[in-house]
Symmetry: C2
Subunit: 245 residues, 2 copies
DNA sequence: GAGTGGTCTAGACCACCGT
DNA sequence: CGGTGGTCTAGACCACTCC
């Protein structure tokens, strides 16, 4: 796993991040235009443009045609659409994140697994039940499933006995994008018990599938979220939907 | 308001959409590579790349490095992050959308308006209370506020008496992106009554601000959503958050 | 009108994927 | 290995915003 030489775009992107974090530019400021920034880093305008694009997509910058590129007014670190990692979200919201593994097991894939994880009948799935905490307050109770075939062969001894959790961490770091169905529900049973809320408390329920870079499903999760510790955000944008499609 | 000449990128984008909607390529198919598609439309590779990029961002296509560009497996028309228009979402989910205006009024901006809509004390806001239906079943009850200053001068006669709703339509079509805080709540009061659900039914509550192309807030909404008529989706993606920012 | 981002070209080389 | 997308350059002109 030799570390790759960073691309020009990455170098420029990191350079810009540094210019912001060291206070050279701050929230609301206009950045140098694409040409000037290119000269500063010794790259072409197209390269700066690509670097800016990435920072815009992750919410750091905002572009306004005809006027300039600006440091975004609102830090959007814990928007659901820009982050797959609850650990990061909790940290970005200003809390200390932690995770408790409640249970781990291995079983045969059921119909839901076959559908969500593109598995074939008879394959095994690994199931992990976890609780996430923000400053020791429970905020997410989740049941995660992943194909056992994603386990490296050398870790498959005695029924995955050792660290299913480490495995899951490894898999979830490989996840690049996901698709969540969201739904409001009333707390009851295990979610209510683990999140330490009264039955009937409103919770957010997510049914999510995460995919790796190649578009393969690697993780299916059912998650129950409390809403009182920190806010959940979604960035929305209009896309031009053609009538013909 | 002369209609602009479509750019090459737009032409290519529409051409590709047509190739998909007429069945030349279907879900899961690999598209011609960037070079070939460029030859087909008589444009450079960079132009095709930009067209592909837009279609990927709106969920129609998926790119896999080293293998190709494909028609996305899953139509994502009614994902919350890719669509600002509930009318479109309802339609995409296969229902007939309609809207009932329950009430319209004008009042002075309160503190919440000042904060969300970047207004100055003493300005007026227009308030519209609406109910959206999917095949005549109520699905969203909302209270929308917008700065009265967005009303064209010639429509400002007698306290905006005529069609506040048409005005809101006009403004909301100008909205390009938004930011929603989501929260699960229990139905009660006006939302329960208008959505025709029992008190205590779990609802999704959105507190949303929408912005125009220049980043100006144009619309602040409080929305209560039922979850039983159609599903709400969020597309999520991992973004590389630097530790320094 | 000056300055900005938006589009576009032609060509090059690299990194990754599958066979 | 061949084919794909990913990166990068140098230069040009257009469209928009704001003074």
């Amino acid at each position: 796993m030799a570390s790759r030489r960073p691309t020009m775009v990455e170098q420029v992107r990191n350079g810009i991040r540094e210019l912001i974090s060291d206070g050279t530019y701050t929230v609301g400021d206009q950045l140098p235009n694409e040409q000037q920034m290119g000269e500063r880093f010794g790259v072409s305008r197209a390269t700066v443009r690509e670097a800016y694009r990435g920072l815009i997509e992750s919410g750091y910058l905002a572009r306004r045609q005809g006027s300039g590129t600006f440091v975004a007014r609102i830090p959007q670190q814990h928007a659901l659409d820009l982050n797959l990692s609850y650990t990061e979200m909790i940290r970005a919201a200003g809390f200390k994140p932690s995770i408790v593994v409640l249970d781990t097991s291995v079983r045969q894939a059921d119909d839901s697994d076959l559908a969500h994880l593109a598995m074939t009948p008879g394959e095994d799935v690994v199931v992990v039940e976890r609780l996430r905490l923000a400053d020791d307050r429970p905020v997410v109770y989740s049941i995660d499933r992943l194909p056992a075939s994603l386990v490296p062969p050398d870790a498959r001894g005695d029924g995955f006995g050792r660290s299913l959790f480490g495995l899951l961490e490894q898999v979830s770091h490989g996840a690049r994008n996901g698709r969540a169905r969201i739904k409001p529900v009333l707390a009851s049973g295990a979610p209510a018990r683990h999140l330490q809320v009264a039955k009937g408390t409103p919770l957010l329920f997510f049914e999510e599938t995460d995919f790796d870079g190649a578009g393969r499903p690697v993780l299916a999760s059912s998650e129950w979220h409390t809403s009182d510790v920190f806010d959940m955000w979604i960035n929305r944008k209009a896309t031009l939907h053609s009538r013909s499609l």
